[in-house]
Assembly symmetry: C2
Homo-oligomer: 283 residues x 2
């Protein structure tokens, strides 16, 4: 099998959830964390059988999952790099792939860029939970230089966690997440910003007292963790700007229809969005 | 009391829900519908004690609720107008108030513009359900010409249904719903339009397979009933265009920050939307 000893670097929502599931499946899980407070709590929650602040904890693992924030994936510490065994398979969970792969291609011969698409409302050592990846997509972005055996190891990991395996070109992947995951954060934040910039205080107070479920849903991702939103913009800048450009054309077209009272054309657009949405939400 | 006989014109989600609650509270409810199929189903569901296709059904009511779509509120039929007793109090449930009030000011001395803010995912004669208005805002838009006794009757209705009573200037109200209810529909529809306009089919297919809960939430109102979206644009055009204009400034500013890599400023914006959102979603 070659999967018996799995190392997880970072035991937050994603790392902790992987740790819980893999132990249940019979693997020996080794967790590396970077703060003593996290260490205590991770031990209490049994997120791995062995947990340490010392990078050497992962030195006998055959598969290591880097469950770190994007910033740390792109600029890994020297200690971490040195602790990774050269013949282990390494993968990550970063939602932007091109900059992560660019970094790791130079650092490790068996690095496979991948990540699960799974809920991220909570974060930190208390966020990890069982079955988070069940029926969720797990995307890997191999290219022609990728070690096929290493890819197979990550494929088996995703399958063991109950995920649906998808492979894609890294750049295409980053464009896709820009459109369906990063763009929504900024259009949703812009809605909150627009409502809040009202200088008319009576109007602002009224919006606060009557805002309903539609507003709550549309603003959920825009009112989320600012570190995460910033990381999306910093690491996926080009694809996000392209997505914003496309979005700008769409909202400008709809606005023009309303301005010139082209009700039939507007109805057609709304009918089309109603018909197309189910293609995106069956996951 | 003066509320014993209540007429409801239209037994869809809102009208049907009012009918169910008022009967439970001991009122005699008279329902007017406009199709024989609706009549049968409304009777089967007991949405009112007396239901008819004949406008005369409401002629002995002291309070009549016009639970009709905005288009029919703005252009009511002559039959309906003639059936309304001159000393009954009349109110409506339309989410845009200025054009409805403009129409009805000329037609009835005791018309009170009002509406509940309540869920509208389902529609039609099968959508009505009990306790829909419990703890939801019910907004009335009186002005200095409004009959205070008529307003009191609608206030008692809202309270009986468990709603939180709010009064506001009609134009301010229309600006507020443009921002927190109508604008979200169009920015959400524009997101679906932007993702769907991708000509790269590989990219489009990938977005469909990895779209997750964030995309589902942000697009919910934009993928809703197109008739409702169109009615918002047609009846609240000026306020919606103003809201779109403000929104355009907000998204343009965020895009500029990303373009020029002003990460600190962007973080501040995202932190501010995170802090401000709870003010809008406690309803």
């Amino acid at each position: 099998m070659g999967l018996e000893r799995v190392g997880i670097v970072g035991l937050g929502l994603i790392g902790g959830s992987i740790g819980l599931d893999l132990q249940k499946l019979g693997y020996e899980v080794y967790g590396l964390v970077n703060r003593s407070q996290t260490l205590e709590q991770a031990k209490k929650r049994n997120l791995a059988q062995f947990i340490s602040l010392d990078p050497q904890i992962i030195s006998n693992c055959s598969l290591i999952i880097l469950a770190l924030p994007l910033s740390q994936l792109i600029k890994p510490t020297t200690d971490l790099i040195h602790a990774l065994p050269p013949n282990a398979v390494i993968t990550d969970v970063g939602s932007v792939k091109t900059p992560v792969i660019t970094t790791w291609k130079e650092l490790h011969p068996k690095f496979i860029g991948s990540h699960p698409m799974a809920g991220t409302t909570d974060s930190g050592v208390n966020a990890g939970k069982k079955n988070l990846f069940q029926n969720r997509p797990w995307i890997a972005t191999p290219d022609r230089t990728t070690d096929p055996e290493a890819l197979e190891v990550v494929y088996k990991l995703a399958l063991a966690l109950g995920s649906n395996w998808i492979t894609a070109d890294a750049q295409l992947h980053d464009q896709a997440v820009a459109l369906i995951s990063h763009l929504p954060v900024f259009i949703s934040a812009a809605l909150l910003k627009a409502v809040n910039r009202q200088e008319d205080t009576a109007l602002l107070e009224l919006t606060k007292s009557i805002a309903s479920s539609g507003f709550a849903d549309t603003t959920r991702v825009g009112g989320g963790n600012p570190e995460l939103g910033l990381a999306m913009a910093e690491t996926n800048t080009a694809s996000l700007l392209e997505a914003l450009h496309t979005y700008n054309s769409s909202i400008t077209e709809l606005t023009a229809m309303i301005h010139s009272k082209q009700w039939e054309a507007l109805y057609k657009e709304l009918k089309s969005t109603q018909l197309n949405r189910p293609d995106f939400i069956s996951n």
